[in-house]
Symmetry: C2
């Protein structure tokens, strides 16, 4: 994948573990004043202002489960690995400040491949003003493993949990859904086609948006800013990593509520619908169970409606109900269908 771009091949062993860490992190200067000490000691040191709390989240990404190097370029993988962590801080209504990155990597990877991976991480760090302050680099005999921990800050009264939704609150999303899964279907098909015929030139025209949704998701930190500027504090919030259905389940179960969402309100991109048709899957299924869109799903009190109704980045898709009404999708013809949260179970063999 990277050989043609980087004909040079430097063995990792020529740098050694600490040389490798220095090499990979040298272009990551610290920009946040909360980052007191970065890479290079037993631990990093951070300190936020006294009225700020520390948000912390971590994700482990494993080759063959969370990504497939056959269709995921390493630079995109680096960007995405950081982005999905920042998305967790966005989902708390906070501001990400630092990340720690651990990688386990086979010696089959040349240093140039890791440079690609870290260049993607650097793009995300630069764009979202996040400091790389630590981590761990080791060899792996079990494929590429990436573990990222993110630290963020928020004032106590700004933090939004999953458990604050109230009946009649409006359910909102920050963008179209199902696209990342549609992109995954296309990429998996291209991989199979390539395996069958390595000379085949794929035609991905008109599918770029969906593929980008899969390869380069964006944490919606802009929506956190937008809500703050509009004077809106959501009553609950979560990011859509596992599919709309699963995220609604989390909000409703933690808030002790039910919900109704409307089929005709769920936003789809044209490409998502086109791919859904091609693969004979409904767009709705992709949105409910596909996951990885990394849009924000949040609830706001009904009287905030005026503040959001003209905003193109916020779409109202339903409302919170009493718990005993359960979780429902109201179809275009007014039929109520019980929602099942099945998107999140990566251990089930049928998914």
């Amino acid at each position: 994948m990277f050989d043609d771009k980087n004909p040079a091949r430097t063995e990792i062993s020529s740098l050694g573990e600490f040389g490798l860490i220095r090499h990979l992190t040298q272009y990551f200067p610290l920009v946040n004043k909360s980052s007191l000490k970065g890479v290079g000691d037993d631990a990093a040191v951070v300190q936020y202002n006294k009225d700020e709390q520390t948000l912390i989240s971590t994700d482990l990404l494993l080759e063959g489960v969370h990504f497939d190097l056959a269709w995921m370029p390493l630079q995109h993988l680096g960007y995405k690995a950081v982005a999905v962590n920042l998305s967790d801080i966005a989902a708390m209504n906070g501001t990400p400040q630092q990340i720690l990155v651990s990688i386990g990597v086979s010696s089959r990877f040349p240093v140039e491949a890791l440079e690609e991976l870290y260049s993607g991480m650097k793009l995300a760090c630069d764009k979202f003003k996040v400091d790389l302050i630590g981590g761990d680099t080791s060899s792996s005999v079990i494929g590429l493993a990436i573990s990222i921990t993110v630290l963020g800050k928020a004032k106590a009264d700004e933090i939004v949990y999953r458990n604050g939704a109230k009946p009649n609150d409006l359910i909102c999303v920050s963008g179209d859904l199902g696209g990342a899964y549609a992109g995954l279907l296309v990429l998996q098909r291209e991989k199979k086609t390539f395996e069958a015929n390595p000379n085949f030139q794929p035609d991905l025209q008109g599918l770029e948006y969906a593929i980008e949704r899969q390869l380069k998701p964006e944490p919606r930190l802009d929506v956190v800013d937008l809500l703050r500027n509009a004077g809106i504090k959501p009553s609950s919030m979560i990011d859509i990593s596992d599919g709309l259905s699963s995220e609604l389940y989390h909000i409703c179960s933690q808030s002790g509520t039910g919900c109704s969402i409307y089929e005709d309100k769920i936003p789809f991109d044209f490409e998502t619908s086109k791919i859904a048709e091609e693969f004979n899957v409904s767009s709705m299924t992709m949105a409910l169970h596909g996951g990885e869109d990394y849009e924000l799903l949040f609830t706001v009190p009904l009287n905030d409606y005026e503040k959001i109704k003209d905003n193109n980045d916020i779409l109202v898709i339903g409302h919170i109900t009493d718990k005993n009404e359960g979780l429902n999708l109201i179809s275009k013809i007014g039929q109520s269908i019980a929602l099942k949260a099945q998107g999140w179970d990566s251990f089930k063999s049928d998914e």
Copy 2:
């Protein structure tokens, strides 16, 4: 390994990812007041006192590189995975407060195996009063992966970095060295013997200490307390994860100094020396390059000598010198041998 202890076998898929997290973390109550929100949202929330800074470190442990399930019981693995992270906070002269644990696990593991793993983590959390506040659980097709991030606290003027050693400072260690590597040699031999003859009953009598050093290392948080109570702030400190030689290299290169350590001052346990002889390796080599002892290596100003000289937990092994003198081991007959830091290079094929 765990089948005989746990004849029941519950499939992970029967719980699902979130059910599994709930199940595994249910016996981890939050005990530190700095832990404001634990498992269950997009991020955990912590807040330290305004005069405290946050220490943060992360480690990624991969099957086949950092542990071998053939000889590492899962409960010990859980304990050790936590302990080695806490050791990083000890090495900063701080107090660990929280951990986040991510695991990637094959569906060949029953839930009971993960219960074993987490029971070891809980032992360490209970012993060192650390809260489990988050993490991530996913399937793995590439062996067991464990990523732990630890948060700790320290006042700004308490934190000890690697870079503060000065010429004439005394170099101290908190306990005997080489034992963990000696234990590893024994365990690897037993594995081979078992593979050749599964009915062979190993006789590990007289080797228990070394094996325990490998399977159940202890973070020396007691030494952090001891130093504080004695009114000593080390000028530099690091934990011995990669071998004495490598850690001295870090302290000297970051402090801009050299060092001299004395062969006859390096502490060895009797078992370590016995195993060294059996395997025809010198104890000194094990101490310098073996690693995983997780003792603290630190420097103190010469005038702190009176405060430490009668303390059995602190052993003076040498002193810091000018940079141009280099890193030296002074042999029993007074010969000066240049130290090489080779313990840390897990990418080199010859190690």
